[in-house]
Amino acid sequence: MPRKLLKIETNPSIVEDNFLFIEKDFDGDISELSGEVMVPSGYWSKHSEALKSSELKVAVWLDSDETADTIKDFLNDVEFVAINFPKFADGRGYSIARLLRERFGYEGEIRAIGDVLLDQLHYMKRCGISSFEVREDKDIEKSVNMLRTFTESYQVAFDQMQPLFRRR
């Protein structure tokens, strides 16, 4: 069943998405997978050649205790990168997203998954996250507005690489 996803392309909007989340401890054969899958980074590392030559559409997800540089060499081979927020108060994903964007130059989709609530979306967006699997019990219809809470920011982040002091 498709899930709803907040996605920023030119404008933020709510779209449908069918990527299947594959658990971290999945150790099955590629033949067990089909369609659109989001595999853990460890699985990708182990099976990258087979995944690349398969018919699958493959995205990779990173947990908050994994580092951005573990996937930097295959960023161009995946549909998108997802960052897991195991708890919303675990803020490592913000740094991981910025590193993917600003250090490794990744221009594709970065998706927030896990404990993704409404009130953190603005900060996530600033750090370069471009799609959001808002937790199912939260009203995703409110999420577009949440990205508009602040119209100005002081500091450099991916969405505004010029600090306010260079613009004011």
Binding site: F150, Q155, L164
Partner: protein
């Protein structure tokens, strides 16, 4: 002082609207307690023993008489007519209603104030010397740097969910350190290199709490324009590597200790190489803009008033006492800085009534260019007072309960709200402060003792900075009973040190006697005019232990 432009005002106004909407969602049940918690904390809102507590930011302790009047109005309208200055130079309200917090924030925003990041696991209010900009022996005014850090840290998107809270302090004085930078997550000391260029000596990993540690130097000279990229690098290393499995081991100090300062510094350096010279690099233009907000007021050309003052001293010993303790020298001749003491016997340290707040605003307008400061010792300061006005200001301060001539002495205690108000506390702290104050109310004796920092915390979160008091008192809970552990030898200044525990803890009622015994031991062992801290350092704890724990002769 810093004046908002439309950007600053927009950001603060948008915050008010955001928090109003978040509060509505919490009250309607859409947000759970756990989800609302970090949102309210990052707006300074705690849920406490009796009521919510709201911590209002006073960036680096500087505010105007207009802001003080607004704070007084808020204190009357939404609270019980009194408020509390904290050890982070902020102001706390003890009894506001949750529903009215958005309105309070809106009233604050009207006067360019807020409660942003006064709590929570984020970058907190940056603090500095309460005499910044007017002190002797200052390399340069540290406040523009504090404001630059304030703007950088406000809603920093990457560092809103750190492993734990994060505190930065800046010192620019070459002779002393009133900002206690060695016990901060990051301490910044302004320095000049051999070419006369400004930079920062950067310390990381100091802190109090359960594991008191002094910060270690990670960079001896960071050129000023790299300040923000370097802070970004430190915070990123901490955000990615700090422990998140145990909140008592989550501060950056634990990470620095675990890795060793060399390995930590190397990681920061590597991260910084990617950020260095990037867009966050400070510009001469921005520094000039910010510095333009911290110009000297319109000082008159005045002589020092030695003759007038010595005549007044001869007339009144009480005035002399107040001058000696509560007046500080000023960089400009003919001027002085006055500390309005919030340490009156019978009043919790740092507490202030709305009437006093209005009076302080009036004194600021009349005598000190309309500006006030709060200190981490929980007092108020009028920084730019004409020496010729000192007798008049003394009379007015006295009449309003501000002139207790005890600044720097044993009774100028730092004290957290403790078990009377705070949900975290193991024990009460205010009654202990009061009992000690009552015991040492004889001013002549107090002055003979010289300066002694006595700090009290009601639990090991150490909001009362007990580790760095010359005498530290920590409230502990033993099987539901309140006990107090005493430590000696702490210091927060440039010779900073962490106090050592004297021995087994005491009942509340024994604490004043224990302090008396410690002081008596000091008096009988001190060399002429030796400071308490120096006697403790010279003799160690043994003579104090003997005096305090000696068995009564049978």
């Amino acid at each position: 002082m810093y004046k908002y432009d439309h950007y600053d005002q927009t950001i603060v106004n948008e915050r008010v609207a955001q928090f109003r909407e978040q509060t509505d969602r919490f009250l309607s049940g859409e947000l759970t307690n756990e989800e609302f918690l970090p949102l309210r904390l990052q707006n300074g809102l705690y849920v406490q023993r009796h009521a919510p507590m709201l911590r209002i930011a006073i960036p680096y302790g500087l505010f105007s008489s207009t802001q003080m009047r607004r704070l007084a109005d808020i204190t009357d309208k939404y609270d019980k007519g009194y408020a509390h200055f904290s050890t982070r130079q902020n102001l706390q309200l003890n009894w506001p209603k949750l529903e009215s917090i958005p309105d309070i924030l809106a009233e604050l925003a009207d006067v360019e104030m807020h409660a942003i990041q006064t709590s929570g696991n984020c970058i907190r209010n940056t603090t500095t010397d309460q005499f910044a900009g007017v002190a002797l022996n200052e390399l340069e005014d540290p406040r523009p740097w504090c404001e630059i850090i304030r703007q950088w840290s406000t809603f920093h998107p990457e560092f809103a969910f750190l492993p734990r809270k994060f505190k930065i302090a800046v010192n620019s004085n070459t002779e002393t350190d009133r900002a206690a930078i060695q016990v901060h997550d990051i301490g910044l000391q302004l320095v000049k290199n051999e070419n006369g260029d400004t930079g920062f000596k950067v310390l990381v990993g100091g802190g109090l709490g359960r594991t008191p540690i002094l910060g270690e130097v990670v960079n001896e000279f960071l050129p000023w324009k790299h300040l923000l990229t370097y802070l970004d690098a430190i915070l990123r290393v901490y955000n990615l590597n700090g422990r998140r499995d145990n909140k008592y081991k989550a501060r950056i100090k634990i990470l620095v200790k675990a890795m060793g300062v060399d390995a930590f510094s190397k990681l920061v350096e590597e991260e910084w190489q990617h950020l260095k010279d990037g867009p966050a690099t400070l510009t001469e233009e921005e520094f000039t803009r910010i510095k333009g907000h911290f110009t000297d007021p319109e000082y008159q050309e005045l002589e020092n008033q030695d003759k007038l003052l010595s005549e007044k001293f001869a007339e009144s010993k009480a005035f002399k006492n107040w001058f000696d303790k509560n007046v500080n020298p000023h960089k400009k001749s003919g001027y002085a800085s006055v500390t309005l003491s919030l340490k009156k016997l019978g009043v919790p340290p740092g507490d202030i009534t709305s009437k006093q707040m209005r009076k302080a605003a009036e004194l600021a307008d009349k005598y000190s260019f309309g500006e006030l400061r709060s200190s981490h010792q929980q007092n108020l300061i009028l920084a730019d007072v004409k020496q010729s006005d000192l007798p008049a200001i003394w009379e007015e301060a006295k009449a309003n309960g501000f002139a207790t001539p005890n600044v720097g002495t044993l009774t100028d205690m730092i004290c957290c709200p403790g078990g009377d108000f705070c949900a975290l506390a193991n024990a009460k702290s205010i009654p202990i402060a009061e009992a000690i104050h009552a015991k040492f109310d004889d001013l002549d004796y107090l002055y003979d003792l010289g300066d002694i920092d006595l700090n009290i915390s009601g639990c090991m979160n150490a909001c009362g900075h007990h580790h760095i008091g010359n005498i530290g008192i920590l409230g502990v809970d033993k099987k539901g009973q309140e006990f107090y552990q005493v430590s000696l030898g702490g210091s927060s200044y440039d010779d900073a040190s962490i106090g050592k525990i004297l021995g087994p803890s005491f009942n509340a009622e024994d604490v004043p006697t224990v302090i008396t015994k410690i002081i008596e031991t000091f008096v009988s062992n001190r060399t002429e005019d030796e400071l308490f801290i120096d006697t403790v350092r010279r003799l160690g704890l043994d003579p104090f232990k003997e005096a305090v724990y000696a068995k009564k002769a049978a």
